[in-house]
């Protein structure tokens, strides 16, 4: 079997030849395609820094073998903004100071996008916190993160925005 995968990454169809079956989606993105926005934190599914959308669902790219996902559609942090226009989540993270060092931020934002798409948390801060528990932030910016996700959730639902507390 040829070790190649065809993936649609950030709306662009790409065929990637692999020289080794051990490559994860995370290593493929970072090391083969220079998409280094997706971060490698723990590499064991515990920190969420590598969160991407895989066929529209948030997953840990570090625990996904690239060969298992031939034909998949992938969205990373690089594919979120439209030109210079930030995605509502990116804008909300800035507005709410939802980061300090920024290492976990791409994973936080992709996880938040997945959470909002899942539609289970809405704009309830407690459900947002629980829904975001797979993303660790060592700077402890959780309050801002929760506020940003709640606000973006409202923006994306088209509801009138409330002033941040």
């Amino acid at each position: 079997m040829s070790l190649s995968v065809t993936l649609t990454i950030n709306h662009v169809l790409q065929q990637v030849e692999l020289d080794d079956p051990r490559v994860t989606l995370l290593d493929l993105l970072r090391e083969r395609l220079d998409l280094t926005g997706t971060k490698k934190g723990c590499d064991r599914g515990q920190c969420g820094a590598c969160t991407i959308l895989l066929n529209g669902q948030r997953v840990n790219a570090c625990l996904a073998l690239a060969l298992s996902h031939d034909g998949a559609e992938i969205l990373t942090i690089e594919g979120l903004a439209e030109g210079e226009a930030l995605h509502p989540l990116q804008a909300a993270f800035i507005a709410h100071d939802a980061l300090q060092c920024g290492f976990c931020t791409p994973g936080q934002i992709m996880s938040a996008l997945g959470l909002i798409t899942e539609g289970q948390a809405g704009d309830d801060p407690e459900r947002v916190r629980e829904g975001m528990s797979g993303n660790l932030c060592r700077c402890g910016a959780y309050r801002g993160i929760t506020e940003a996700v709640v606000e973006a959730s409202r923006t994306m639902a088209g509801a009138p925005q409330e002033t941040a507390a």
Partner: protein, 351 residues
């Protein structure tokens, strides 16, 4: 991670043929297996990738009123399936209390049942572990073992099974459907996992090449929908394995318990069904005295395997709380923190 051969079967028959070769491991999501491969605990010579199999990915209502869940159904898809959640709310609550949103989107039904223990000595290749290296000893004995087993453990191994999902499943008499080189068979989940005894490396009844293809819940399991809860105590609020957990399911008729199911998690090498406690509850009034007594019965055989005497009392209290919550009724919507002891009780009481 070791090098491995990679095969991509399209049918269950092809998968089983490849899986029966020595050194093969089945790869579903990989949330547990790839992790163990990265730390050198799992070193399969061949990965049999199940992600291209046709089927095994649906939730099927059965004519008899039961449900059949394909082994490749993702944890999140099952927990959020409205019909499933309505009929088996404790199973959905257990699923949503496990891992993280990302992992639940990946992890499969079959993979959850077969996940390996989180014992630190199992995960550390420099430590002695009879499960990882049979005959090497058990470094968990006498060392850091406050989260280890209090039921069903042996001198060779005191590890626990980490699954939340399995706890309500075993309470509800789930049945595994298995394909293998010798054909199809089914095994009750209660008999699927093995206690360590002298062979802790054998964790389930699966023979080489056997593949879990589905699990079924019998029609009776849906009869508990109005009074079914899962409660899980963790060392942090979310995204942590259970210190102890309990699934409680009741059928209440005319002020009496007409049927009771109780199972415990985090206490043994398998999801622990508390049948003696269930028998005690039959015919009792669904009230605090009965719940306390049932929980005491459920832990009657428990013994510490190390610095974990506290887990016995914790498990007893969590079991009693699960029964109390089940009696209060399944909430219309799961709490923001599914299964958390910090979630408020329905009716305004604080949990």
């Amino acid at each position: 991670m070791n090098r491995f051969d990679y095969v991509r079967p399209r049918t269950v028959a092809e998968a089983v043929a490849a899986g029966a070769q020595p050194g093969s491991a089945y790869l579903a999501a990989g949330t547990n297996l790839l992790d163990l491969m990265k730390i050198g605990v799992a070193r399969p010579a061949r990965l049999v990738d199940l992600n291209y199999l046709a089927g095994l990915d649906t939730i099927e209502e059965l004519p008899d009123g039961g449900v059949r869940i394909g082994a490749r159904v993702r944890n999140a898809d099952l927990a959020h399936d409205l019909a499933f959640r309505r009929r088996f709310p404790a199973v959905a609550e257990a699923l949503l209390s496990g891992a993280s949103g990302q992992l639940r989107n990946m992890a499969t039904t079959g993979g959850n049942l077969l996940q390996r223990t989180r014992c630190a000595y199992f995960q550390d290749t420099a430590s002695a572990c009879n499960k990882r290296a049979p005959g090497s000893g058990c470094d968990a004995h006498g060392r850091e073992n406050r989260l280890h087993a209090v039921l069903g453990w042996s001198k060779t191994c005191i590890a626990t099974h980490p699954s939340d999902f399995c706890v309500p499943l075993v309470a509800l008499d789930a049945i595994m459907e298995i394909e293998g080189p010798e054909g199809w068979r089914e095994v009750p989940l209660a008999d699927f996992h093995l206690l360590p005894d002298a062979t802790p490396e054998r964790e389930s009844v699966l023979a080489p090449g056997e593949l879990v293809v589905a699990l079924r819940l019998p029609p009776e399991a849906a009869g508990f929908a109005a009074h079914a809860r899962y409660v899980k105590l963790r060392e942090r609020t979310s995204f942590a394995f259970a210190v102890v957990s309990a699934a409680a399911c009741l059928r209440i008729q005319e002020g009496q318990i007409a049927a009771a199911r109780l199972a415990l998690g985090g206490v043994a090498a398998k999801p622990w069904r508390a049948r003696a406690a269930e028998a005690f509850l039959l015919g009792a009034a669904p009230a605090e005295a009965a719940f306390q007594q049932a929980a005491t019965i459920a832990l009657a055989e428990a013994r510490p395997s190390g610095d974990n005497t506290f887990k016995i009392e914790l498990a007893r209290r969590i079991a009693a709380r699960a029964l109390r919550l089940a009696a209060a009724g399944t909430p219309e919507r799961l709490p923001a923190l599914p299964a958390s002891p910090f979630a408020p009780l329905p009716g305004g009481l604080h949990g």
